[in-house]
Amino acid sequence: MKITVFTALILTLASPTLACETVTSGEMTIENAWSRATIGANRPAVFYVAITNAGSSGDALIGIATPAASMPMLHQTVVTEDIASMPHAMSIPIAAGQSVQLAPGGYHGMLMGLTEALKVGDNFPMTLTFQNAGDITINVEVLSIRAEGPDCESDGQ
């Protein structure tokens, strides 16, 4: 019991920094990649991240892939007329000089076919495929199912 509490404490203390990894490739910067713990592996998990395109031409996120899930897809929560629906997003435009958040209540990755349940403190790699910038991989930190975002220094959230 003591060990469990201790481990939980360590994970709690460690998670904010781990979730704040920043990966830059060319003009594209990816940071604050996080997910929520799941109950078992039968429900879809979520993937959130902040993407900044410092370049002078637009790009688009066209796909995501991870060993943690067999069917990861991009979705967008759309709330119109007080109804929330979640259409599939074929691609997410990242305009020149702009940042786009995959964040609660908007764009997000839906990770179906989880290999195993996601537990707080886990991490898994996620490869983001951009139309122009190609593939960029970042580590995703699994936060509590109650998390509303990572506690990072940067303004990514």
Binding site: R36, A37, I39, G40, N42, R43, P44, A45, V46, M73, H75, T77, V79, D82, I83, A84, S85, M86, P87, H88, P104, G105, H108, M110, L111, M112, I145, R146, A147, E148
Partner: protein, 197 residues
């Protein structure tokens, strides 16, 4: 001035239209429009995760914080339930006066996946309710909310649910009090509840 037959018809039509508009405005003002409307009492009769039938009478004297959702929902539902959990923690001792309810709009699948473990993962105080299709539709109608199954090949089992994502506040006597639209900060909901408790 002498009106032609056509002009008379047009004036009559205009008069009728204004009457209809007035009646519509009058009715519209009384119908629930989302915020601070005339009191009405939403109701439901739905089994909880243990199969025990629950109705508003079971929670008389408490404020109900009601959310309609589904457990396979990766974004909106966890975000809202995480807020509810935070509110319950922040209420401290006063939390005994508030009962959060999660009403499943995808009851068959949610029962199969496990309703109790889902609500418990957010907060032990949240009670999940999942009935049959007709019971669910009746509860949603009574809250004046919308939900619909949408075929989606990119979703688990080939479908997703679209739904009203707000939180609904019901008073201790069962009267509808207000809704908190999706994305209302937890602190704002907490303030509202604390002002009533």
């Amino acid at each position: 001035m002498r009106l032609t037959y056509l002009q008379k018809i047009l004036w009559a039509a205009a008069a009728l239209a204004s009457l209809a508009f007035g009646a519509w405005q009058f009715a519209g003002a009384r119908a629930p429009s989302g915020v601070d409307e005339a009191p009405f009492r939403p109701t439901f009769a739905l089994p909880d995760a243990e199969g025990q039938m629950r109705t508003p009478a079971d929670f008389a004297g408490k404020y109900l914080l009601v959310f309609f959702g589904f457990t396979n929902c990766p974004d909106v539902c966890p975000t809202t339930l995480a807020e509810v959990a935070q509110i319950m923690d922040d209420l401290g001792a006063q939390s005994v006066e508030v009962q959060p309810l999660f009403i499943s709009i995808d009851p068959e699948r949610d029962r199969a996946l496990g309703l109790a473990e889902f609500t418990a993962a957010f907060h032990p105080s949240i009670i999940g309710l999942a009935g049959e299709g007709a019971q669910t539709r009746a509860a949603a109608n009574s809250f004046h909310i919308f939900f619909e199954r949408e075929d989606d090949v990119t979703a688990p089992d080939g479908y997703s649910m679209s739904h009203s994502p707000a939180l609904y506040l019901i008073g201790p006597d069962g009267d509808w009090l207000r809704q908190f639209t999706y994305g209302t900060p937890a602190a704002e909901i907490l303030d509202d509840l604390q002002s009533r408790l």
